[in-house]
Amino acid sequence: MRAPSVPQAPMLTRINVTSVIDVALVLVIILLVTAPMLDVADLDLDLPGAHTRDVEEQSYVSVTLGRNGDMAVENQEVGSVEEISGMLSSRLSEIGSQESLVVVRADADLPHEFVRRVIEQVRAGGAQRMAIATRQLEGE
């Protein structure tokens, strides 16, 4: 004698991946756009404010001088000022262009004498173009 067959609900066999793909694509696009911005050292610093917006380049090599005197060329921390020229020179060689913009990001409270020594090292590292980073102020 056969048991009566019980009707079963159809099994869910497909996973909805639409939302996963949405998020993944947005992440890829945003990471592509913000990747150049993330190539700077995360040191504690307060940039000096300025109204003018002079140099507009997405890609540059950054030299960061933190509030406590910490230094970094892009993401790599530097022990002394004298090391900056060597590290910068090798970085510019990797890029393959001495014409790349080098941006000096220095804390507003640092003495100019310290910043000037770093600028001299940047020049010694072979940088042809240089800019000083500022925090954009509103209005005139």
């Binding site: 639409t18 939302s19 949405d22 998020v23 947005v26 992440l27 945003i30 913000t34 911005m37 993330l38 700077v40 940039l47 000096p48 404010g49 300025a50 109204h51 003018t52 917006r53 002079d54 140099v55 507009e56 941006v103 990001r105 220095a106 804390d107 507003a108 409270d109 640092l110 003495p111 100019h112 004498e113 310290f114 910043v115 000037r116 600028i119 001299e120 940047v122 020049r123 940088a127 173009r129 240089m130 800019a131 000083i132 980073a133 500022t134 925090r135 954009q136 005139e140």
Partner: protein
């Protein structure tokens, strides 16, 4: 007359799935929060000290303006000492007298980087074309 409710095909549709929209929006918000401080950075182009110094020696005095930060609040425009707050008023006529509107900036050692950049900014706002940072 008796109206019978009829089930239309629209009643079978499920509500709009807003989950992916919320996912994407939240990810955007978080990433924008992280990237905002970097987006408000800008920079002012300067010439290197040596390069600027060489150019300065080859140019006639009448082609450039020399700014010297004496202390945090005082700037010398060529030979005239002015307050930093009044720099733009003094610099504009001095730049008008030059042909290339070029500037060389010298700064004492103990001046803060913020004051130096403020002078750079004011020079740019006055219409300076090329700014060279002098060694000492």
């Amino acid at each position: 007359m008796h109206w019978q409710s009829q089930q239309t095909p629209l009643d079978d549709e499920s509500p709009v799935n807003v989950t992916p929209l919320i996912d994407v929006s939240l990810v955007l918000v978080v990433i924008l929060l992280l990237a905002t401080p970097l987006a408000f950075e800008s920079s002012i182009g300067v010439k290197s000290a040596q390069k600027g110094g060489k150019e300065a020696t080859t140019k006639k005095q009448s082609l450039r303006v020399t700014l010297t930060l004496v202390d945090e609040q005082s700037v010398r425009v060529n030979q005239t000492l002015v307050a930093r707050d009044e720099l733009m008023a003094a610099l504009e006529p001095a730049l008008d007298e030059t042909e290339e509107r070029a500037i060389t900036i010298a700064c004492a050692d103990n001046i803060s980087h913020g004051a130096f950049v403020d002078v750079l900014d004011k020079a740019k706002r006055c219409g300076a074309n090329g700014i060279a940072v002098s060694g000492r």
